[in-house]
């Protein structure tokens, strides 16, 4: 069976082997425009709260 592309790096060295590597779905969500727009709004709200607490 062919190696899944996102799992290829596990075999490269011992450090990578014990790391947490995102799978296909997690990677796709990182550049999914609709999901990222929602995250954009949420991250901004979170950052504004921290900025507000810091001034």
């Amino acid at each position: 069976m062919a190696v899944k592309e996102e799992e290829f790096n596990f075999a490269k060295n011992d450090k990578f082997n014990t790391a947490m590597i995102p799978g296909k779905f997690a990677r796709a969500m990182r550049t999914c425009k609709i999901w990222q727009f929602i995250r954009f709004v949420i991250i901004n709200i979170k950052m504004i709260i921290v900025v507000g607490k810091s001034h």
Partner: protein, 489 residues
């Protein structure tokens, strides 16, 4: 009429000077002494360094902005401070040496009522043999610390990518150039922006990309790492950082003190005392930071530099500098008002103040070499400090010496930080993070030292959008365009 002199027109100094000029109005004078004619939005130098932006995109002329704000602008570098005056005057003054405005090389003494030292770091390339001389970058590696450096880095990177196109495999080495560096975040951004560009160009198989850092573990970032709440778990930044490196196939070496740089090769010592070598075709190594080397003299003309400044050249402020073991470090060691304890009319803000100690756990190799990151003082805390200090000085000028001083402790403020991992409106990525507080407080937050409700991080396109929007927003603010004051630091 009182005079405030601000040394340095970077993040902290520009914030301090522009707010002070606005709050003080025409009744009092604000003078800025800074050696460059241009303001630089330093975080975007990363994109200049991969050819994604130009030098002009990240800089603008300071003179028209200061003219609009009613600020007296001296394109010069400060050389020394006489807080008690000298034999002929009781008034405090600073000696400056012009670098432009047609007076390059000439000296001037500027008297002041209050002084804010926001001179940032000396890029101490000279600390590592081969990395450079003094504050000048050497010939073997590149840097992204200034817009000019980043522009040069982009040209060198292009050459390396051209070689890959011709079928020559290339080795890229990015990280810290000394055991006592800070600013790992900038190197982290640069390595992933390079990886992103190389992948986009279809050349990823032709590049070996290697990270080298003085952090004892991945994700330390000079803050002892951080813990974030993700998917119901509270997780160390180490897990996330190692994950990104593994995902992108970037090898890493941690706990490394680079002690020599030669053409195409670095030598380093590791925390276990062993010595290693890494070769490279292209390398960007962050230099260690030091104070810019200002001197101080008393009325009699005696050198009092070690009274005003710490041995690393940063200005002493209201921190607790008593040496003590790591276990006894407290959040309360960190300064609140940034006022010099000896001379109450001197303040420091941004990188220019002397931290009481590092934040990460101190580490030493068996050979006695200190290998640990020094504390980061990123843009947001630097801006907040600049504003708080300007506020204090304005109140002192308006209400007299008993005025309340404003506070901005790094142990009580958070920081929002967006670390780019590749540029592109549709395919870019960045790690958007907040940390609260910057300096961990284990008395208040036992366990992680931080409030995990306000400490988070995630990577994605949204982070890139935020980073890119912040680029425009902060340049807009620094140019003092309408409503600049409502944009937070």
């Amino acid at each position: 009429m009182a005079r405030l002199v601000v040394l340095g027109g970077g993040v902290a100094g520009h914030t301090a000077a522009t707010f002070a000029a606005d709050w003080l109005g025409k009744e009092h004078e604000v003078v800025v002494v800074t050696p460059n004619s241009k303001w630089n939005w330093i975080p975007s130098n990363i994109w200049v360094g991969v050819g994604g932006m130009t030098k002009e995109d990240v800089t603008f002329d300071l003179a028209p902005v200061y003219e609009k704000a009613g600020i007296t602008y001296k394109q010069a570098k400060a050389v020394s401070i006489n807080p008690e005056g000298n034999g002929s005057t009781d008034k405090s003054f600073v000696t400056i040496e012009f670098t432009g405005q047609g007076k390059a090389g000439q000296s001037e003494e500027i008297t002041f009522d209050y002084l804010i030292n926001a001179t940032g770091p000396k890029l101490n390339f000279g600390a590592t043999p081969g990395l450079g001389e003094g504050s000048n970058l050497g010939e073997f590696t590149v840097s992204v610390c200034t817009a000019d450096h980043a522009d040069h880095a982009a040209h060198e990177l292009k050459k390396v990518m051209d070689k890959m196109r011709k079928g020559e495999r290339q080795k890229i080495l990015v990280g810290t150039g000394h055991g006592m560096c800070t600013c790992q975040g900038a190197a982290f951004e640069y390595i992933f922006n390079i990886e992103h560009e190389i992948r986009k160009a279809g050349l990823r198989d032709m590049a070996d990309i290697q990270w080298i850092s003085n952090e004892s573990f991945m994700g330390d970032f000079g803050m002892g790492g951080l813990h974030m709440k993700v998917g119901g778990y509270v997780v160390s930044s180490r897990i996330f950082t190692e994950s990104l490196f593994a995902e992108r196939g970037v090898n890493y070496i941690t706990g490394a003190h680079v002690n020599k740089v030669e053409k195409g090769k670095v030598t380093y010592e590791l925390l276990d005392g062993s010595i290693g070598e890494e070769t490279f075709d292209f390398s960007m190594l962050i230099p260690p930071f030091a104070g810019v080397g200002l001197k101080a003299y008393n009325k009699a003309g005696e050198d009092i530099t070690d009274t005003v400044f710490a041995p690393n050249g940063f200005m002493k402020v209201d921190a607790n500098y008593t040496p003590k073991p790591y276990e006894e470090w407290k959040a309360s060691d960190w300064p609140r008002t940034y006022q010099n304890p000896t001379y109450k009319n001197l303040f420091a803000a941004g990188i220019a103040f002397a931290p009481p100690h590092i934040i990460s756990k101190p580490m030493k190799s068996p050979n006695g070499t200190m290998i640990n990151p020094t504390p980061p003082r990123t843009g947001m805390p630097s801006g907040i400090m600049g504003k708080a200090v300007a506020h204090s000085v304005c109140d002192l000028i308006k209400h007299g010496p008993s005025a309340h001083l404003h506070e901005a402790s790094m142990a009580e403020m958070g920081a929002a930080c967006v670390a780019s991992a590749g540029k592109g409106w549709l395919d870019g990525q960045a790690a958007a993070m907040t940390v609260y507080p910057v300096v961990p407080d284990f008395d208040k937050y036992p366990g992680t030292g931080r409030d995990t409700d306000y400490t988070f991080g995630e990577i994605g396109l949204a982070g890139h959008w935020i980073k890119h929007i912040l680029h425009y927003l902060f340049i807009y603010k620094a140019k003092l365009k309408p409503f600049w004051k409502v944009i937070p630091e």
